[in-house]
Structure formats: C-alpha cells, structure tokens
C-alpha cells in the first residue's frame, strides 16, 4: 500500500490565514497570562462592567426564552433601534428591514462585508497602521490591501491626497476607521468631506468603522461620512456595542448601508453563523433604548486615565500622535532604541507591563508601541513608573504630542 497522505492545509492558504500582527499580540497575551502581577495595557477589552440595566435586560430575555434563532439580519426590534440611533445621532438614514445586518461583533461584520464586496484582484485602501485582523478578511477574499500611510505629526489623521494618489482602476473600497485603532487618531471633518468627494469621484464604496465614536477627548468631533451628500448609497457603516457599552464578550455589532450590499451580507451571515447570539441581541436593544448617561460616565473615566498615561509618557520624553479618541495611545518609543517586539518582551519580563508592539499593527512600526488604558488610574500610574524605571528614563521630559 502506498504511503498514507495526511491532509494538511496548503501553503497558499496558510499565507492567507497568516496575520503576523495578531500572532505577535497573542504570543504576548499568552505569556502574560502565565505570569502574576502583570499590568495589562494590551488588549482592547474594557475592564468596566457592562451597565447593569443591559445585563438585567439580557437576564429577562433568558427567562423569557431566547432559544430560537432570529432572522439572519437580526431581531427586528434591534434593527429598528439601530436605524433610529443612526438617524438620531449620526444623521444616517437606513432601512431597518433591508439595510441593517446584526453581526457577531464588529469583527464578523468587517469579515463578511469584505467577502461581500471584494472580488479577487480588487484593491482596498486601508490606513496604516491598522488593526491587522483586516488582513485575513481581505486575503480570504483574494483582494489586495493598499496601505495609506498616516503620521504621528498629524495625529494620524488621514490625508485625502495620500488616498487619492493610490487609487487605480482596481480600487473598489476605501476603509476608514475613526477614531482609530491602534492610533486613537481621528479623521477630522474637513478631511472626511474631501474623502467623500474622492469616493464619489472615483466611484468607491466606503467602509466606515465607527466603533469608537463615543470615545472622544479634547473637543474632537465625530462625523459619519455616510451622512454627507451622495454618500448614503456608497457607505457601509460598521458599529457595535463592545466599546461604547463595554460588551466585548457579548459579540454583537452591526453593519448598515445600501440594500444591494446588505442583501449579500445577510446571505453570508446566514451561511457563516445563522444569526448573532439572541441573548446578546436583546442586550443590544437595551443598550440603545436605555439611558445613555453611562456612555458619558465611562468616557469621563477614560478621560481621567488618559491624563495619567499622557503625563507618564510626557515625563519619559515619549512622543505620540494626539490620541483624540478610543482608549489607546500609539507611542513613539524610538528614543529607547529597541525594536518594538524586543521592547514589549523586555517590559513584560522585567517590568511586568504588557504593551503591544507597533509591529503588531503593521510591519514598519518598529519604533512604536500601543498602550491601552483599561485599568484603574492607580494601576496605570504604577505601570508608567515601572516602565520608567525599567528603561531608566526618569526625568527625561520633553515629550508630548508630536
């Protein structure tokens, strides 16, 4: 008998599934989990609890029976609440019946959307640095990611000229994320208006990831590009509950956009996982229809923590792009003179502080690190002093927004 062939996954496929950034981040997370006393400035998982009224609504849904699947696009109640929210807060008009799909978190939304709108060989413009889980979605669609550089000195704002310069006949989609991950920069309204103009001129679809929309500081403004003239037909808005309402574990987000695109997304959603978890969908209804004070309450907590972090970074002489949103800071650590992976390992092993290396968000960010501030202020202050003494940076001074 011939030698047995053991099935394996092909090399091309492994390449498509490969996401170096995620691997770097998870290697560090795993190491950190095996240690004690680590202060985690890594994962973007809010430490604050899901607000009580949302948890209570979920428990009521469990008692009532949330056992049957919903429509693949989501519970009608949730889709109506989403459409009402988008109109009220974002000036975006969508059809709750055919223009909204509830997904198992924003990540699934992005994955399915990319499969729905990109054909092999198509190009998608993605600001750099980026959240690298996009990579697998794009690679699985056989599409090509074209990076658009952003710069610390502009607060990682997206320069419309840099976008337009990279448009080719194969460009189909422009991906925007504001406030951004990992940079926490925002795309300023004047730039967003120019980006809208470019999208119209070159007939591009726009994915607008607005998952951090409620987390803004220093008077930064949020503008939904889908609300601009002529943009409703070409914008797919991505949002969710994870970051605004501290609901990462519930896995519920949504996409909203033109019916032609959303029809395909709904079908993909049905094939990928039937529907979003129903208990979580009821929690989403409660989040949107319940009191919103908690959103501002949480934002203020982050604001205080952000101050602690920036003070610490300034003291050490680090620069960073002005973090006007989210709960991250993308720090320029070039003054340390270490590759970002080595730096993150050193900080974890010697200072017991977990940070994510810049290269986890794009290979050329060797001088950068992403820190999140999802821990109480005292812990963050402690993390800053640990970094300070580990790197011998005490009394450096001279840091701040670049």
């Amino acid at each position: 008998m011939a030698e047995r062939v053991v099935p394996s996954v092909g090399g091309d496929q492994l390449e498509r599934l490969d996401d170096e950034g995620t691997r770097q981040r998870y290697d560090l997370l795993e190491r950190a989990e095996s240690m004690t006393g680590v202060i985690a400035l890594g994962r973007g998982d809010p430490d604050l609890p899901t607000p009580e009224h949302i948890v209570d609504a979920a428990k009521r849904a469990i008692d009532r029976g949330a056992d049957e699947v919903s429509d693949p696009a989501g519970l009608p109640e949730l889709r109506r609440a989403i459409a009402a929210k988008l109109l009220r807060e974002n000036g975006v008009t969508v059809d709750p019946a055919a223009g909204v799909v509830v997904t198992t978190g924003g990540q699934e939304g992005l994955f399915l959307l990319v499969q729905a709108i990109l054909e092999p060989g198509d190009e998608i413009l993605v600001p750099d640095p980026r959240y690298t889980s996009y990579d697998v979605a794009i690679q699985m669609a056989g599409a090509k990611m074209i990076s658009v550089p952003t710069d610390e000195r502009d607060g990682f704002d997206l320069d419309p000229d840099e976008v337009e310069r990279r448009i080719t006949p194969r460009t189909r989609v422009l991906l925007l994320i504001t406030p951004g991950n990992p940079t926490a920069g925002t795309i300023t309204p004047p730039n967003l208006r120019r980006l809208a103009e470019i999208a119209r001129k070159h007939d591009l679809l726009v994915i607008s990831d607005e998952i951090y929309e409620k987390l803004l500081y220093d008077g930064a403004e949020h503008l939904s590009i889908g609300s601009l003239p002529g943009m409703a037909d070409r914008t797919i808005l991505l949002n969710g509950f994870s970051k605004t309402y501290c609901m990462t574990g519930w896995r519920v987000g949504y996409l909203a956009g033109p019916r032609s695109v959303m029809r395909r997304v709904r079908r993909l959603k049905e094939l990928a996982s039937s529907c979003a978890p129903v208990v979580s969908q009821w929690a989403g209804v409660a989040a949107l229809e319940g009191p919103q004070d908690v959103v501002e309450e949480y934002r203020r907590i982050y604001e205080g923590r952000r101050r602690v972090m920036l003070d610490g970074l300034d003291r050490m002489g680090f620069t960073y792009g002005d973090p006007r949103g989210a709960f991250y800071i993308f720090v320029n650590a070039s003054s340390v003179g270490m590759d970002s992976i080595d730096l993150s390992r050193k900080l974890l092993e010697e200072a017991k502080v977990l940070i994510f290396p810049g290269t986890g968000f794009g290979e050329q960010w060797v001088d950068y690190m992403r820190v999140s501030y999802l821990a109480p202020e005292a812990e963050l202050a402690e993390a800053m002093s640990r970094i300070e003494s580990c790197l011998g940076l005490t009394g450096g001074g001279g840091g701040g927004p670049a």
Partner: protein
C-alpha cells in the same frame, strides 16, 4: 386546476381554510433547560461579559474533550485541538474555507442541506452531493463516493445522523468510508449535531474514532438541539492540530471568540444532567411513532429514518414531483421543502418539528395530495 376548482377557491373565505402546516421548519424549538439558564444568568452576575480566551473557555474545552473521549472514542488535546464556535454553522464555514482552495472539491454524503454547497462555493471551491441509493435508505455509499472523487477532492463531509434522510453511518459502511479517506488522503468533516436522536436500535459511531482517522477528521457538534440553545450560537469543532490550528486562526479573524454568556450556558449543558437529551429524544420518538402510524394508515410511502428528526416521504410516482406537486401541497395548506434541492428528487423532506397531532393531520393531507397526483410522469 379546473375552472370550477378555481371558482371554489375564490369563494372560500380565508377563515374557513385549514391552517397552514409547516413541515419545513428546521428546528425543534425546545426551551433551554432551567439549569442552563440559571448558569448563564450567574455568569452575567459574575461579570463574564468580556472576551474569553480565543479558542473558547478552558473548562468548556476540557469538558468537550472529555465528552468526545467518553462518548465518541475520540482523543483530542483540550487546548490545542478543540475550538468553540458560534454554532455548528460557523464550524462548517471555517472548516470548508480552510480546507478548500480555488477549484478544490468537497464531497458530501447526502442527501444534504444546500448549506454545504453554498459554503463551498463561497470558499472558491465546489461541493458535490452524493445522495446514495433510496433503496438503501440513502445510507452513505462509499462506492458511489469513490467514483466521484477527483484529483481536486480534498474533503468528505459526513453528516450522521443525516438530514433529511435520517441515515446513521455505522458498521462496514463507516469503515469503508474511513478506508476511502485514508487511501485518497482526504480530510473528513463529521457533522454529528443530531447525535442524540438515534432510533430503532441504530448506533451512531464517530468516524474520527476509527483507526487512522484521528489525523484527518474534524468532528463538529453543538448544543442547539436538543439543549434548546439554537439562538445562543455555540458549537464546537475538534480534530488534529494541523487542521485545527489554521481553523482557529480563521475563526479568530471572523469573530474573535464565541459569546461568553453562551459558552457558560454550553458548559452547564455539557456538564449537567442528561435529562434534556433524554426528553428531546423521547419527544421525537413519540412524534415518529404517531406520524409513521398515520402515514401507514393513509397509505403514504416513506423512508423510515434511523436518526435525526427529518425524513423523506416518497413522491416519486406523483404527477409532476416538481412544480405542480408543490402547487398541490400549497393548496392543501402544507409547506414542504424541495427534495431536489437536497439531492433527493422525487422525495419530500419532512421535519418532525410540529406536535404529533399536527403531524397526524399532515399525514392525511399528504395522502390526499399524493393520491391525486398519482399516475403521471415524474418531472421532479
């Protein structure tokens, strides 16, 4: 339809029409067991609202590995070879997307839901359903499968108990399938979500437990039925690290992790009493008995399923098993799926998802429709 019949229909008030019986509804719709609900609520009270470890809660993965060893004779490493997914559907999506590259083929021992073909196509490949022989109860047919393999065939999908035919792969047949996979270097996706629903003394056996199959079998199972957790979206896949590793990467890219509250519910279900399984099994057993008796009385021919809660009614001799039969079923206020769509043309797939008395009424209506349609050619 004759002019008079049309006239009659026009004049019959909607209120007098018999109520619609949906024989295509795919889910049993059982309620989540109280201890599972309580566990889920406790997890929420304990603040389990964050991401879990990417492949799934550690205690859940351990419980799954223990279950697979105890009940299925499959040994997997709980941390490296088990992945908790958002239902079995995500598991199938992930597995086919990882295994199939452009123009690769999967073969599906059928009849089987359209899902497999649609997902394979989305992955850039194809899926060919090999329905098997009706005279043989649509049992998995290793010879027929062997004849359809090409140089691009990468995976064999085996759903057992199957749906809608309700065949259970066991004995020589299963061993022959395993030998085929070994000889041809195929990966096997073994979808076992209907595992508790086995009847008439049949015994389901996991293909992954057969010699040499551990290195090539991905076993997919879940909690939707009979734990009443369909809406919670939680299932799992288990298999060799060489396949599970890349599948875990794709799952992570798709949905990071499965919902925390649902994973806690699943943990309570898998470690809790077997009562929900037994009562779900008994519920379907009672429906089978009463529906089969009603069909027998009415003279309707059908394939007696060994498992699952779907079955096939024989409409091969009906006049126009395709469009006109569907019209006649609609007139009789029956909603029935298409046999052709699942690879069983001439057969009517029936879901035992309605109460027994409703199924009994459906049997009578089916008999009238089929009697009336008898005698013509079969265009299905």
């Amino acid at each position: 339809m004759s002019a008079i019949a049309r006239e009659d229909r026009l004049h019959s008030a909607p209120a007098q029409r018999p109520r619609l019986i949906d024989l295509s509804r795919g889910r049993l719709g059982l309620a989540t067991a109280p201890h599972v609900r309580e566990a889920a609520k406790r997890a929420l009270d304990d603040g389990e609202t964050h991401y879990t470890t990417r492949p799934g809660l550690n205690p859940l993965r351990r419980a799954i590995a223990e279950k697979l060893e105890r009940e299925n004779g499959i040994r997997v490493h709980a941390e490296r070879e088990v992945l908790v997914t958002c239902g079995t559907r995500e598991a199938v999506f992930v597995a086919l997307h990882v295994l199939l590259e452009h123009d690769d083929q999967a073969v599906v021992a059928g009849p089987a839901a359209r899902l497999y073909r649609d997902v394979a196509r989305l992955a850039g490949g194809t899926a060919r359903v090999i329905p098997g022989d009706p005279a043989d109860g649509f049992a998995v047919d290793p010879d027929a499968i062997a004849r359809r393999l090409t140089s691009r065939t990468r995976a064999l999908v085996l759903v057992s108990p199957s749906s809608p035919a309700g065949s259970v792969a066991a004995g020589d047949r299963l061993e022959a399938v395993a030998e085929l996979a070994l000889a041809r270097g195929l990966a096997v996706l073994s979808v076992e979500k209907l595992e508790p629903f086995v009847y008439d003394g049949a015994a389901a056996r996991s293909v992954g437990s057969l010699p040499g199959m551990a290195e090539r079998t991905v076993t997919i199972n879940g909690f939707s039925e009979p734990h009443g957790l369909a809406g919670w979206r939680v299932g799992y896949m288990a298999g060799p690290e060489s396949l599970l590793g890349p599948m875990t990467q794709l799952k992570q890219a798709m949905s990071i992790c499965s919902p925390a509250v649902s994973q806690h519910a699943a943990l309570a279900a898998i470690t809790g009493p077997r009562t929900p399984l037994e009562s779900a099994r008994a519920l379907v057993a009672e429906r089978r008995d009463r529906f089969f008796a009603a069909l027998d009385t009415a003279g309707v021919r059908y394939l007696r399923p060994q498992g699952g809660y779907h079955m096939l009614v024989d409409a091969r001799h009906a006049n126009g098993a395709g469009g006109s039969l569907q019209r006649a079923l609609r007139s009789a206020r029956l909603r029935v799926g298409s046999g052709a769509a699942v690879g069983a043309p001439g057969w009517l797939p029936i879901a035992l998802t309605s109460p027994s008395e409703v199924l009994e009424e459906a049997a009578g209506r089916l008999a009238s429709v089929l009697a009336e349609a008898k005698g013509g050619t079969n265009d299905g």
